[in-house]
Amino acid sequence: MRMTCPLCGARDLREFTFRGAALARPEGDDWNEAWHDYLHLRDNPAGESREYWAHAAGCGAVLLVTRDTRTHEIFAVEQARGAGA
């Protein structure tokens, strides 16, 4: 698998570290359903998925990756900072 880092170009998978699904993080310090949902009830989509990947062994940018979990096709790779995720 190869991913095109917006800063570094196409790079091998081994430079990247998976950082989980890109989900909206709930607000507030009180435990509630939204937090439970965010922490524990994860979808396992067959199809388009938005994920964070860190270019850890590269430039260090955290990337927002949109890809298809069935075909592994990558639709978009953008910097998480500024992506408004």
Partner: protein, 184 residues
């Protein structure tokens, strides 16, 4: 004082480490290295760097050098000023962090250099992807590193100081294997 209280020590013996045919591995001296992190917006740093060091701020994957020193792109929001001591006047435009002791630099040069690197890094080393003067952050022998093409067949490799011996060991072993293949 006749004797300094503390003696400086490079992580590796400086100079020639292995020469096979026309390909060589040399441990480079430790230059002054300062990390420059401009934070949001790079314009102020670009201006200050030009003014105080006569260097342009490189694009991602780029390196700008002059007789005085070089500025190396070093990752997201980070540049490495190599050579000169940073002007204190840069401080308003970027945070400055001393990194001279954090990295060990090795030069790999010669006709087999690219073949050696093909066994140590997943980077695309072809001219189109890594032209002269280009730099990349990547894995080198499973270590986080920096690779800069400083000549048509010359590459400067940098890894953390603590891993310098592993880098040298991997480079030597790989050069020997590549040279044996070349001799077939």
């Amino acid at each position: 004082m006749a004797e300094p209280m503390l003696k400086a020590q490079n992580a590796l013996p400086q100079g020639e480490a292995l020469v096979l045919g026309d390909t060589r591995i040399d441990v480079l001296p430790m230059p002054r290295m300062t990390s420059l992190m401009p934070g949001p917006g790079h314009a102020a740093l670009a201006k200050a760097l030009r003014k105080h060091h006569g260097l342009d701020l490189p694009d991602p994957g780029g390196r700008v050098s002059s007789d005085e020193g070089e500025c190396l792109w070093f990752g997201l929001g980070q540049y490495m000023l190599i050579g000169p001591a940073p002007s204190p006047l840069l401080a308003g435009a970027a945070t400055l962090t001393e990194q001279s002791d954090a990295w060990t630099s090795v030069l790999l040069e010669g006709p087999l250099a690219r073949q050696v690197l093909a066994r140590l890094t997943p980077l695309d080393l072809r001219d189109a992807s890594l032209p002269l003067g280009a730099t990349a952050r990547s894995e080198i022998a499973h270590m986080m590193g920096s690779l800069t093409r400083v000549g048509s067949e010359a590459f400067r490799l940098m890894v953390f100081r603590s891993m310098a011996q592993t880098l040298l060991h991997e480079l030597k072993d790989t050069l020997e294997a590549v040279a044996a293949r070349q001799a077939l």
